[in-house]
């Protein structure tokens, strides 16, 4: 696998010597890319487009991500580089990113974020195509990254970050289920016409349940009341909890029978109670403030055993934080 990818990089370098030769060793990488673009036959009007594209990269960034996700087009290759690479490193990293994308194209053709280019030798053409089709430029301009862009989604690079494969497996074992779940939720969201990017960044919160070793994510934008959230939590964890009890019971397979509703989450009457951590880091009972206020301050949710609740110093949000 490694061999394949590395070979690909080299082929690419051979195939488009002009592209690489024209990348100067100075810091004006973007500018030189424009020159290189025009030298490959793009018209002056295209150059103008390029200029226009030097706007706020953050905006470009999100537009591009959004467009990527919606169109799922194979041509949407505006592979995004981290901002402010230094000259040569820029080249090396982008070649790595391309190479990684070729890899991911083979394995994960449906993943819109990793839409790839099937043929390395067409880098120049495809970049031009991208410029014609979509105005946002790759966010590699020398401008500060948006802080909301907390991290760039990195293309997989062999051996980076430097984590032993043993640990990587460990992480994927633990996060595989929630990841699948969140993708489902994202897909469900699309028909609502809501920008996926916004909901991903704004309304997804993590939720964990005592006794369930798998974390989940829940999209608060999909609900408009505490009651609906409560049923969603029940749906999310009912099966997991039953499965967990089942496996812990040591092989007595009785799944259907053991699944029971997780009720009374909001009034403390059930076995579990729903609490949340707000944006100031305080832990509070879910249901105390108006829904919209809850949505705007919640950082994560947690389903606690009600028996554990008394031991916790929960802040009563009404009195201490938000007098109504």
């Amino acid at each position: 696998m490694v061999a394949e990818m590395e070979g690909c990089t080299r082929k690419e370098e051979e195939a488009c010597p002009q592209l690489l030769d024209l990348i100067p060793r100075q810091r004006d990488w973007l500018v030189s890319r424009d020159i290189e673009g025009s030298s490959h036959g793009s018209s002056s009007s295209e150059e103008k487009k390029l200029e226009l594209r030097l706007g706020p990269p953050c905006q470009n960034w999100s537009m591009e991500r959004e467009r990527d996700e919606k169109s799922q087009s194979l041509l949407s290759l505006g592979y995004f580089s981290s901002p402010m690479f230094s000259n040569q490193t820029q080249k090396l990293i982008s070649s790595y990113q391309q190479q990684a994308k070729v890899g991911s194209f083979i394995h994960l053709p449906v993943n819109p974020n990793k839409a790839s280019q099937p043929c390395c030798s067409k880098v120049v053409d495809l970049q031009n195509a991208e410029r014609k089709g979509f105005s946002p430029a790759p966010a590699n301009t020398a401008v500060l990254p948006n802080t909301s862009q907390k991290r760039t989604a990195p293309a997989p690079i062999v051996g980076w970050p430097p984590v032993r494969s043993f640990r990587k497996n460990l992480a994927s074992n633990n996060s595989s289920k929630p990841a699948v779940e969140s993708e489902n939720v994202v897909q469900n969201k699309v028909p609502n016409g809501k920008p996926v990017e916004t909901s991903r960044q704004g309304l997804f919160v993590k939720i964990n349940m005592d006794g369930v070793p798998i974390g989940r994510k829940v999209d608060l934008g999909a609900y408009d009341s505490y009651q609906k959230l409560s049923s969603a939590v029940d749906e999310l964890f009912r099966g997991l909890l039953a499965a967990q009890r089942d496996s812990c019971a040591g092989g007595t397979k009785n799944k259907q029978g053991e699944e029971k509703e997780i009720a009374g989450l909001l009034d403390g009457s059930g076995e579990y109670t729903l609490v949340y951590e707000d944006n100031e880091g305080d832990r509070m009972l879910v249901g105390d403030v108006p829904w919209q206020m809850f949505v705007s301050t919640v950082k994560r949710l947690r389903v606690l055993k009600s028996s554990e609740l008394s031991a916790l110093r929960l802040r009563s949000s009404k009195q201490d934080k938000m007098p109504l």
Binding site: V2, N87, T89, I93, R151, P154, I157, P162, V163, R167
Partner: protein, 568 residues
């Protein structure tokens, strides 16, 4: 020197255990060299190709314990092609003939076949300790041979190996009368263990000090094990989630509170807040807490746990504990010397916030004794790193990984040069440094100028020109290992280290700008230097050297090199 004096010197040298000191002793004069080599019981070989087993056994005839390392470190991250080498077998063959008294073997990044393990078990009558770290090539069948035939085994430590995990039956191969085990670690295996065999083993090995089980061992099984072994010093638990009855729960609390000597705790797979309180009684004595497998642990769980651990010296966590968890560490663990924060989602495919500069700074405020830091994060600032260096000037190991390659200071947009500049200027004892983020040649200028004690430097996606690496090669007088990937360092940079390579253990350069000609030239100019190039693709450009591994060797070019390795 007469034999009387030699005897006296030998007695004195028996008290000198540090390998460095013994090396110095051997340089005093021929007599001392001779006494030292005959009295040497342990040998450390940092690169199995730097010397041959014949040379080692010829010089040191009375070795009992060997530590041997194989592949370059980047093989841990799949940068070294499979079948590169590092097989332990040629060593075992010579050891079996020359060191029948061998008791201890510690291998790192080597290939160890089942046949080799069987041979090992059959060849050394008094074999006591086997430690395999990041090794591959073997299966649980090999472990069966060790368990069956090493009658005096005191240590079996199998950590993070690429092992063919066929079954957990090997545990039942220890003979009924086997009672010598002191250290048993199989935490990295996946198969269900034969629990009855494990329990029986634990109950009859009264000197057991370290037990690290794998995640298939349940909480209730752990309770039984601890019941038999309250004397444990180090414990690695299995899965820390199970639906327990109230009586099981209180029994678990009881056995933990009986473990009065426990000072290191790891495992805790799937730990949730539910059962962490059973650990509180042992927390007071803990000096090492490894939560890096507990992927569901969050900031508040960690906060509650560390509030009970005032004597913690070493802490490993995942970044799921976030900055708030690290703040709790800062306010509760004033004696902390080592912190490692691993990424829970290294590929960035999950929306985990992870840790940032604020958690880093919080720990440094509360833990002034910090010496070892490994920190994976998605964002960092120059100011934060400078603060950490100021707060913890005794740092010897500083490994910061900003996981997005070449990411600048996320507040100022500046390169991260000043961050690492501050580290090398302030932390004068620095021995190991890993740099990341957007870095210009300036970082390397700082490193070359100030890092006088640096031995080990890792670089990725950094620098502007050959000059960057040249700064390092011309500075850093104690540099032993240098590993570089994806940097614009070329032939001039490589050749600037001519004077240095003989005193270094190894140099790794992958995806840099080095040519074959430069490698050839380097090999011709420096004696006793093996310059290996790994070619990944035969159709590629023949003039470029993709992966270069340079190391000194008194054994000459290795003879087991696969076809894709060219040696100059």
């Amino acid at each position: 020197m007469d034999s009387q004096r030699k005897k006296v010197l030998e007695q004195v040298l028996n008290l000198v255990t540090s390998p460095k000191d013994r090396s110095s002793v051997s340089l005093v004069c021929k007599d001392w060299y001779d006494v030292e080599r005959h009295s040497r019981r342990h040998v450390f070989i940092g690169n199995c190709y730097s010397v041959s087993p014949e040379i080692v056994t010829r010089r040191f005839p009375n070795i009992r314990s060997v530590t041997l390392k194989g592949r370059p470190r980047f093989s841990d991250f799949n940068l070294v092609p499979p079948n590169w080498g590092g097989d332990v077998r040629p060593w075992l063959d010579v050891f079996a003939a020359e060191y029948p008294q061998l008791e201890e073997l510690r291998l790192k990044r080597m290939t160890v076949s089942d046949e080799s393990l069987e041979f090992l078990a059959a060849s050394f009558a008094d074999f006591k300790a086997l430690s395999l770290l990041s090794c591959d090539g073997f299966s649980t069948d090999g472990l069966e041979a060790i368990a069956t035939d090493c009658k005096n085994l005191t240590e079996l430590d199998i950590q993070e190996n690429d092992i063919d995990d066929k079954s957990g039956d090997w545990l039942s191969c220890f003979p009924e009368n086997f009672t010598s085990m002191e250290i048993l670690n199989f935490s990295c295996l996946n198969s269900d263990v034969d629990f009855d065999a494990l329990e029986s083993l634990v109950s009859r090995c009264k000197s057991l000090k370290v037990l690290k089980v794998n995640k298939t061992v349940t909480l209730d099984q752990l309770r039984s094990l601890l019941n038999h072994a309250p004397q444990l010093l180090e414990l690695g638990t299995g899965s820390f989630w199970q639906e327990l009855t109230p009586s099981q729960h209180s029994e678990l609390e009881r056995v933990f509170s009986n473990c009065k000597n426990l000072h290191a705790l790891s495992g805790l797979w799937q730990a949730t807040a539910l059962y962490l309180p059973v650990l509180y009684p042992v927390c007071t004595n803990l000096t090492f807490l490894n939560l890096s497998y507990a992927a569901t642990l969050q900031s508040w769980d960690l906060a509650k746990l560390v509030a009970n651990c005032p004597h913690l010296r070493r802490l490993w966590v995942l970044d799921t504990v976030e900055d708030k968890g690290l703040e709790a560490v800062g306010s509760n663990c004033p004696l902390l010397e080592e912190l490692r924060v691993f990424p829970s989602s290294p590929d960035g495919d999950d929306i985990v916030d992870g840790v940032t500069e604020s958690g880093f700074v919080a720990v440094s405020h509360g833990c002034p004794r910090l010496r070892y830091v490994l920190y994976f994060c998605w964002q960092m600032t120059n100011a934060a790193v400078a603060t950490v260096a100021q707060n913890c000037p005794d740092i010897t190991h500083f490994r910061l990984c900003i996981m997005t390659p070449a990411k600048p200071d996320h507040l100022t947009g500046e390169p991260m040069d000043e961050a690492f500049g501050a580290v090398v200027k302030t932390c004068t004892k620095l021995e190991r440094l890993s740099v990341s983020g957007l870095l210009t040649d300036l970082t390397f200028e700082y490193i070359g100028k100030y890092a006088k004690n640096l031995e080990y430097l890792s670089v990725a996606f950094a620098g502007d020109s050959d000059q960057g690496m040249q700064y390092v090669m011309n500075g850093c007088p104690k540099l032993k290992k240098l590993e570089i990937r994806d940097c614009p360092f070329g032939d001039t940079a490589l050749l600037s280290g001519l004077e240095k390579y003989e005193s270094m253990r190894s140099l790794w350069m992958s995806a840099c700008l080095v040519t074959m000609n430069a490698c050839r030239s380097l090999a011709s100019k420096v004696r006793r230097l093996n310059v290996e190039v790994m070619k990944d693709d035969e159709n590629g450009d023949d003039s470029q050297a993709d992966k270069v591994y340079v190391y000194r060797s008194i054994a000459g070019p290795r003879k087991d090199a696969p076809a894709f390795v060219l040696t100059f």
